[in-house]
Amino acid sequence: MIRGKKNRAPLGVLAALLILFLAPAALPALSTDLESADITVVLGTEGKAEVFYRLYWKASGGKMHGFYFQGEAFEPVWNLERCFADLGDGSRVPLEIKALGSGRYDVVLERGKGFTGEAYYFLNYAGDFGSAGLVGLTRSVESGELIYFDWAPVQWDEPLKARTVRLVLPITVGGESLSEAERGAVPLRTEKSVNAENKVDFYGSKGGDGKYYLTLRFHQESPGPRAAQRLRLYFPRDYLPIAALGASASPSPGPGDLSQPLLPHAAEPEPLPEPTPLSKAARLPPAVALPLALGLVALALYAYSRKLAGYGKKAALVKDLSWAGDSWIPPKLFSGTYQVKGKVAQDLHPVQVALLLELPLARVVALMLEGLRSQGIAEVLEEDPLRIKILSAERAQEEHEEAFLACFDAEGRVLSGLLMDFFEARLKELQEALWDCDMEATKAYYREKLAEAELAEAEADGERLAAWRASNPHWHYWHGYYHVRRYPEHHAALGLPQELKAGYASFMKSSSCFSGCFVPAGAGGAAGADGAAGACYSACHNACHDACHSACHSACHSACHSACHSACVSGGGH
């Protein structure tokens, strides 16, 4: 990860020259400061983990766009849905994360945005700790077989005021606070350095299932530049329910070796090369510096044109990648932690509202049928098993309607697999609409809207009803919603596949849909019952962002910054 100083220095000087040449006034003025880092690691029972970073940055004297992130022991699988920055003005900006090679990432605000003042950057990625050897089996003479956890958050090239790592383990506890007895019962063993370098605490994090999960907190005050926070922990083999570690973990260091480093990559980092000072570059004679700078500009333009030429191919790959991503990245019920407080998605379709409010899926089908019936598009012939007749060959106005009608065969019988696909698609849309919304506020908004719809639909005054309907383009479905709530016996016996007779949360968790993923509440990403559907398309987004980024973000920018900030630590706000 750390490249030799000799190799990097000339490029660094050239890059510095170019920056001096292109932007002599802006760069020296920008001052960035990472104040604190909060990291949460949620360890799953398969040895995989999700990692959440919350980084508090301050910038003055110019616009800060992002920073470099480097030093993770594995290749992160980024979840761009949860990578964003909350800026001081209250806005939330998605992040673009570009892989620069060698495990280094350029994390910037989207579309070249920048900020002055303060901002919280949120990062989320996943990794297989078991495969990477960060979690595995070892043995000690005194304690027998143990599970070790050996991981460190990335180091930063500047001092921080505080750094906290929370490790959420798949162990349930009684509540948020642990009694002395419960604390004493946690069979945790650590390397001495862990206790010496951290304040350690135990508590319970509430998960989406309502249970509390054991959380270890490791807090450091004022860690210096490039300070490590290596956490080497040990638990009895039977304590942690982590499966399939034996085959995937790195070789055990053997009996009595607990004091030795378990993982070579987690060893203390080598001393880092000092960044090339700009003043040194500036001392080069102008006769040398100018041709060098012009040459580098030409090189950058050439690299940019090559990137641009390759963009078409990358874009063509996105379709395939998205399919692959759908199949291997399980969607997750996402958390409330990333919600913008008070933000409400105001343009949801009544069917999405029904899913949000967890109306049983059979009732959502009833709602759809009622909406279609009131438009004269379809009618129900039989309820159990469900059989409909499509009355109109004309394309329906809404995509939902067409997609729903596509779930019926030529006899009008429901095709269960396609109906499940229909619900999954609606849930994905819902997630896209809700990803940064305040779930409770959104629910409250739509409960109110539903009450309004019920009042309006029950309205005897034809003019007022007509006025309400005119102001609500989806009124057929609000009418349907009102109808299925007002008359629970209507379509009560719809014959549907068993998987669709539950609410969407249980549908999401069933094998007929996605595998639900637990993210405890304290993990900066609480899975909640409030969550929506899955983020199947992270891989697609990654690929898309990569392709776009490659084309739009000039080679000049990334290459020069990469060359200037060649340290293998994260940081380098820019």
Partner: protein, 206 residues
């Protein structure tokens, strides 16, 4: 035509019904005037037979039989066309998410519409075309069934128990063939000549 069939068509014709009704009326009139039942009934039957023989000999009975047969045939055509319309309506109402299959189905629906218009105009139908419509419905049903199975197999990671090689290509080809059959049937009902051929004839006649 067998005698029984011949007689049945005659009795179903207005002439047959009229002669029977007239004979029965005369019999009732006779009984009302005090004649006994048997002579009245025998007289009525004889009158009906006489009317039948005379009308057949004079040609009116044969025309009545032909008309009755035509009416029944027209009724049969209407029934067949109505059945085909029902199938076409079901095909048109189907929503197919695959664009290529949907386009092929659209071609069938369009050709079926033109064919049915022709059927109504000419009060005729083509059994082959009607069968093609039924087949198209079955083919689309197979496509939907396969799509559904594929979805379920993917969702539950199940093996494909009923392999269906190149389902889309075969379904599209099948539907296109049915559309072609329907277009041919329409053309056949309109004289068997396409617009180009008819124009060529016009030009030759000038």
């Amino acid at each position: 035509m067998r005698f029984g069939e011949f007689l049945a068509y005659y009795l179903k014709s207005p002439l047959g019904i009229g002669s029977l009704a007239g004979s029965a009326g005369l019999a009732l009139l006779g009984m009302a005037l005090g004649l006994p039942f048997l002579p009245s009934a025998a007289g009525a039957l004889a009158l009906a037979l006489l009317t039948g023989v005379v009308s057949l000999a004079g040609g009116a009975g044969a025309r009545a039989i032909a008309e009755a047969k035509g009416v029944e045939r027209a009724r049969d055509v209407r029934r067949r066309v109505s059945e085909a319309e029902e199938i076409k309506s079901r095909l048109a109402g189907l929503r197919i998410s695959d664009a290529e299959v949907a386009a092929a189905l659209g071609a069938v629906v369009l050709a079926a519409g033109e064919y049915l218009e022709s059927c109504k105009t000419r009060e005729s139908y083509d059994p082959e075309a009607n069968f093609a419509l039924e087949s198209a419905l079955e083919i689309v049903g197979l496509h939907l069934s396969e799509s559904n199975e594929t979805s379920v197999e993917r969702r539950f990671s199940l093996p494909d128990e009923n392999p269906f090689e190149d389902p889309k290509g075969r379904v599209v080809a099948g539907l296109k063939e049915k559309a072609s059959t329907l277009r041919r049937a329409r053309l056949g009902m309109e004289g068997g000549l396409g617009a180009g051929e008819r124009m060529a004839i016009e030009e030759e006649l000038r």
